[in-house]
């Protein structure tokens, strides 16, 4: 039901107004940071416009509401990136369904989650669908990077901008997802208004990896011990296979599948580890600049304090700069363990 959507009042109002005045566009782009609730709102809007006994909200109990809540409803095609790309076959399948009469709903809908990950062919196929809208259909594109969507597609759909949620709203969503205790405050702060990220963090079970990050941050400064992310990759994080990006180049010498998965998992761990280290040293910087109230890792207050004795504000700033720089280089198979270790070690001196 729409009332379950936390925040995003403007977006909700805009859509409802368009619907009640019979001016619902055939295509929308929901644009905003990842994990802020765009897909949730999109699903609820689709339910609302199809609900057979809707008032100010969908009823949640009529056959259409119930049907749409189930998985794989024939009138709703949900497209998501497979191996980080949306391909033409996926768009075509949605297109084929749009050509059929609705099974149950008044509006057949296509929801493309990750519309910024469509490849060229998929974009072309989608463009056709947007160019010749069929009555009684709705296409919602969800994206966090608007520039990765072609201009031609952007110009044929209405854009609705989403912002991150407030801290209170984030906490509400996290509580609704069963997150409690001392993790709650940390997750709410680190989510930056996008509770979806925090939920992922929990589902992928990244807390043990975070412990490691803290240990390294503390240990490197003192003893100069380095870490090997390859080893960490074997231990931590519930890695989703679908997120492996397809290898594009090097078609002549395809790596054995197992090897690819391993190296992709290492990349995944490195990405997260780097983010965690950034978050730690950002907190150190905050503490040393007298803004201790704003730190993200509130549950690790004591460790942060200890670290802020080791690293000065200037050192922390230097480390942050270094870590942010190598984040962009992660895919280029740099020696991450050595680089990150070095950056931190030098900062500490």
């Amino acid at each position: 039901m729409l009332s379950e959507v936390v925040g995003h009042a403007k977006a909700k109002e805009k859509l409802l107004k368009a619907f009640s005045s019979e001016r619902l566009a055939h295509g929308y782009i929901f644009y905003g940071p990842e994990g802020c609730g765009k897909v949730f709102l999109a699903r609820e809007i689709i339910k609302y416009i199809n609900c057979t006994s809707r008032g100010v909200d969908s009823c949640g109990v009529c056959p259409t509401c119930k049907g749409l809540s189930e998985k794989n409803h024939p009138d709703l095609a949900v497209i998501e990136p497979v191996r980080a790309v949306i391909k033409i076959e996926q768009v075509r399948a949605a297109k084929a369904l749009m050509g059929l009469k609705a099974a149950q709903c008044e509006y057949r809908a296509v929801l493309i989650n990750g519309a910024d990950r469509m490849n060229g062919e998929a974009s072309d196929a989608l463009l056709k669908l947007l160019e010749e809208p069929v009555a009684g259909t709705l296409i919602i594109l969800v994206a966090s990077n608007i520039h990765a969507i072609r201009e031609t597609i952007r110009s044929r759909a209405q854009r609705i901008d989403f912002n991150g949620l407030s801290r209170e709203d984030t906490v509400r969503v996290l509580k609704a997802n069963g997150i409690e205790g001392n993790r709650l405050e940390f997750l709410a702060r680190s989510a930056e208004g996008c509770p979806g990220r925090a939920v992922n963090f929990t589902q992928e079970d990244l807390f043990p990896l975070r412990e490691e990050a803290f240990r390294f941050a503390a240990a490197i400064g003192k003893t100069g011990v380095f870490f090997t992310t390859k080893e960490l990759a074997k231990k931590y994080g519930k890695f989703k296979e679908e997120e492996i990006e397809e290898e594009t180049g090097d078609a002549e010498a395809p790596a054995p599948e197992e090897k690819t998965t391993n190296s992709q998992k290492t990349l995944y761990v490195r990405n997260h580890l780097n983010d965690m280290l950034v978050s730690i040293f950002r907190d150190v910087l905050l503490v040393n600049s007298g803004r201790a109230a704003e730190i993200v890792n509130v549950d690790k207050n004591a460790v942060i304090k200890e670290l802020s004795g080791v690293y000065s504000a200037q050192a922390a700033a230097g480390i942050l700069g270094g870590l942010n720089k190598i984040k962009g280089l992660l895919k280029n198979s740099i020696n991450y363990d050595l680089s990150a270790g070095n950056i931190i070690l030098r900062g500490g001196k």
């Binding site: 119930k66 049907g67 189930e70 794989n72 024939p74 297109k95 050509g99 059929l100 009469k101 609705a102």
Partner: protein, 367 residues
């Protein structure tokens, strides 16, 4: 879920639902068959979101009721390879692991829970119901289905247009170059209906039609249902307005050439061997009591064959795509065929001599 059944029964039934299992799909569960066991019935369902095939196996020994979806391809292959005349024991545990046992053979495969399977939707009301002889339906489908378009960008033409009126069913199929029209008898309906039916369901249903009795057909606003006591096939309909076809089939064709169907088929097939360019055109030239079929392709060569024809009047010639001509001659059962023409730039009509219920129109090729 736990049940025991005979290998032959199971194989026969899973093959019935195989047709609606998706081949290329983005939803993994659509590769699966849904099995639901309750009472002494096992219901099998498969769908690709367009087509749903359900069939019931009766008198199955079910010791524990339940449901599961099982990978169709694997399941069919496994059942086929099991020894015949033996009992198969299927057992599903709470982790969706399926054990298939037969004699001393043991298979374990992973299934998916029923919750992943697309929900079964209540059909919209106000259906139009009629009965049609299974043999009639199969014959009608066979004679029009090859004319539909394969071009997915014009979805409407990929389906067969059905017009249900009084006690008659008409079917029309066209791809813009040729059009097939047929009518047949059905039980009387209360309300007329015009629908566009995807070819997939027609192909599937005609596979399982027999020659003896009738089949129930229900047409709803958004779907068509074919129902027999053991089998229910449901398909969604194609959305849109079918182009008007009446003016095409009601034109007057003043030149009538009567030929032997078999002879004509062989002649066109032979001559078209040298018609290998894009249009693969064969030329028909009718003059007194004969029809000359010819073809030619630059750089390849030419061919010509004369066949006997019942024709009187001025010499006339026209060219058609040979494939379109062969398609229709292949399904014509009567000994003699009428080819009706006007001039070389207008469409031609092909029909069986004694039967007015089947008409086939071809647009000519310019040569």
């Amino acid at each position: 879920m736990k049940l025991t059944c005979k290998k032959e029964d199971l194989q026969e039934n899973i093959i019935k639902v195989e047709g609606a299992v998706s081949v290329k799909t983005t939803l993994p569960v659509l590769n699966n068959i849904l099995m639901e066991a309750s009472g002494n019935e096992l219901q099998l369902t498969s769908t690709d979101l367009e087509l749903v095939i359900k069939c019931k196996m009766k008198e199955v020994n079910i010791s524990e009721e339940g449901s599961i979806t099982i990978p169709a391809r694997k399941f069919i292959d496994i059942v086929k390879e099991l020894p015949s005349e033996k009992d198969i024991i299927i057992n599903v545990d709470e982790k969706n692991q399926i054990t298939i046992k037969c004699n001393k053979i043991n298979f374990r495969i992973m299934g998916l829970g029923k919750s992943e399977f697309p929900p079964v939707l209540e059909p919209k009301k106000d259906s139009i119901n009629f009965k049609i002889k299974q043999s009639v339906l199969r014959n009608m489908i066979k004679k029009v289905i090859f004319s539909v378009s394969a071009d997915e960008t014009r979805k409407i033409l990929t389906g067969v247009y059905m017009i249900i009126e009084e006690s008659e069913l008409k079917m029309v199929a066209t791809d813009g170059h040729r059009l097939a029209f047929i009518k047949g008898a059905i039980s009387k309906v209360e309300k007329p209906a015009k629908i566009i039916v995807p070819t997939k369901v027609l192909n599937e249903i005609s596979k399982s039609l027999n020659d003896t009795d009738e089949i129930d057909v229900s047409v709803l606003e958004n779907q068509i249902i074919f129902k027999r006591n053991d089998l229910v096939v449901t398909s969604r309909l194609i959305d849109g307005q079918y182009p008007s076809y009446e003016q095409i089939i009601n034109k007057i064709f003043d030149k009538k050439v009567r030929v032997k169907t078999e002879e004509m088929y062989r002649a066109v097939k032979r001559v078209s061997l040298v018609a290998i360019d894009k249009t693969s055109a064969v030329k028909l030239k009718a003059s007194d009591a004969k029809l000359v079929v010819s073809a030619q392709t630059v750089d390849v060569g030419d061919a010509e064959e004369e066949i006997q024809a019942d024709y009187k009047g001025e010499e006339t010639s026209i060219a058609f795509n040979s494939r379109y001509v062969l398609d229709v001659l292949k399904v014509l059962e009567e000994e003699e065929t009428d080819i009706q023409l006007r001039d070389s730039a207008s469409a031609g009509l092909i029909k069986p001599v004694k039967d007015d219920s089947y008409i086939y129109i071809i647009m000519p090729v310019r040569i």
